[in-house]
C-alpha cells in the first residue's frame, strides 16, 4: 500500500522533528502530572521536566494525552483546595 501525499508529509514531519529522546512513554507518564502543573503555572523546567517535554514533542500519543490532561485540569481549575 503506497503512502498518500498527506502520509508522506506526515512521515517527513516525523523525521524532521526527531530528537534524541532519553525517555519512554511510561517514564513520561510517571512525570506527566508534575510536568502539567509546571506548564500550567508557567514554571521553569528542571532537567527531568525538560526530558518529559522532549518526549512529548517526539511522541504523538503522549502529546495527545498531555493535551487532554491540560484541557481537563483547566476545566476543573485544579486549585489548592481540591
Amino acid at each position: 500500500m503506497s503512502l498518500s501525499k498527506n502520509q508522506i508529509a506526515k512521515l517527513l514531519q516525523l523525521i524532521g522533528t526527531t530528537k534524541e529522546d532519553s525517555m519512554d512513554c511510561e517514564c513520561c507518564f510517571d512525570r506527566l502530572a508534575e510536568f502539567a502543573e509546571a506548564e500550567l503555572e508557567g514554571r521553569s523546567l528542571c532537567e527531568a521536566m525538560m526530558a518529559v517535554r522532549t518526549h512529548i514533542e517526539s511522541c504523538p500519543c503522549c502529546a495527545d494525552e498531555f493535551k487532554a490532561l491540560l484541557d481537563g485540569l483547566r476545566a476543573i481549575g485544579n486549585t489548592d483546595d481540591c
Binding site: Q7, A75, I76
Partner: protein, 226 residues
C-alpha cells in the same frame, strides 16, 4: 515588654505585613499534606465520601476534555468510575511530586484516551494497513511540473526505507501513519507501548540520519513539502 512596645510591634506588623514567601520547601509541605489528606480520606472511615468527591472531580474534568475527542457525558462517567478503581489500587504509587488531584486526573485521562483509541480502531488489523507491503513510497509529485528536488528527496527516502528499516519498523510506521496509536500497534504486535515507541523512534532516527548524509536536512524537507 511594656504596652508601648507591644503597640509599636503591632503597628509595625499591621503596616508592614510579612512578605508572603513560598519557598519550594513550602510547596513540598503542601503536597505532602495534600497527599496525606487525600490518601487518608480515601482509606479512612469516611472513604465513601472521599470516593464520591474524587469521582465527581474526575467527571468534571473528563466531561470537558473528552467532549471534543468523541467522548460524551456517559463516557466520562464510566471512565471516572474505572479511574477511581485504578487510583485506589495505585495509592502507594502516588509520590507526592504533584497535587493528588493532578495525578488522579492523569490516570483518568490516559484511561479515557486509551479507550477512545481502542474503540476507534477496534476493527482495524495491521494486515489491512500493510496490504501489499508496508511503507511504500511512490512518487506523488505531479508528472508534468514535478520539482526535481522533490523527486530526489522522495527517491532517497524510498531507498532508505527499503534498505535500513526492518519489516517490523515498516509495519509499525505504516500503522502510525494510518492513524493507529502506538498502544494499539503494540497490542496487535503482541508488544508493549514502550517497545513500539522505541521501534518507531529508531526508524525515524535512521531515516533522519540517512537523509542528512545525503545532504537533505529537515529544513530542506519542510521547505520542499510545505
Amino acid at each position: 515588654m511594656n504596652v508601648q512596645v507591644l503597640l509599636d510591634v503591632r503597628f509595625q506588623f499591621c503596616n508592614n505585613p510579612l512578605p508572603v514567601l513560598r519557598p519550594a520547601a513550602m510547596e513540598v509541605f503542601d503536597m505532602v499534606n495534600q497527599q496525606d489528606e487525600w490518601v487518608g480520606r480515601l482509606t479512612g472511615p469516611n472513604r465513601d465520601d472521599a470516593i464520591s468527591e474524587l469521582r465527581a472531580f474526575l467527571v468534571r474534568g473528563l466531561t470537558k476534555s473528552m467532549a471534543s475527542r468523541g467522548g460524551g457525558d456517559a463516557f466520562a462517567q464510566d471512565i471516572a468510575q474505572d479511574a477511581v478503581i485504578r487510583i485506589l489500587d495505585s495509592l502507594d504509587q502516588f509520590a507526592g511530586r504533584s497535587k493528588f488531584t493532578t495525578w488522579a486526573m492523569t490516570i483518568a485521562t490516559r484511561l479515557a484516551i486509551s479507550e477512545l483509541r481502542r474503540r476507534r480502531h477496534q476493527d482495524v488489523s495491521l494486515d489491512s494497513l500493510a496490504n501489499g507491503g508496508a511503507l511504500q513510497i511512490e512518487d506523488t509529485t505531479d508528472d508534468g511540473n514535478a520539482d526535481a528536488a522533490k523527486r530526489d528527496a522522495l527517491s532517497t527516502l524510498r531507498q532508505l526505507v527499503d534498505e535500513t528499516l526492518t519489516d517490523k519498523q515498516k509495519i509499525a510506521m505504516q500503522a502510525m501513519l494510518n492513524g493507529l496509536a502506538i498502544e494499539e500497534i503494540a497490542s496487535r504486535l503482541g508488544s508493549n507501548r514502550n517497545a513500539v515507541y522505541k521501534l518507531i523512534h529508531d526508524a525515524r532516527k535512521k531515516l533522519r540520519t540517512g537523509l542528512e548524509k545525503a545532504g537533505i536536512t529537515a529544513e530542506t524537507l519542510a521547505d520542499l513539502f510545505a
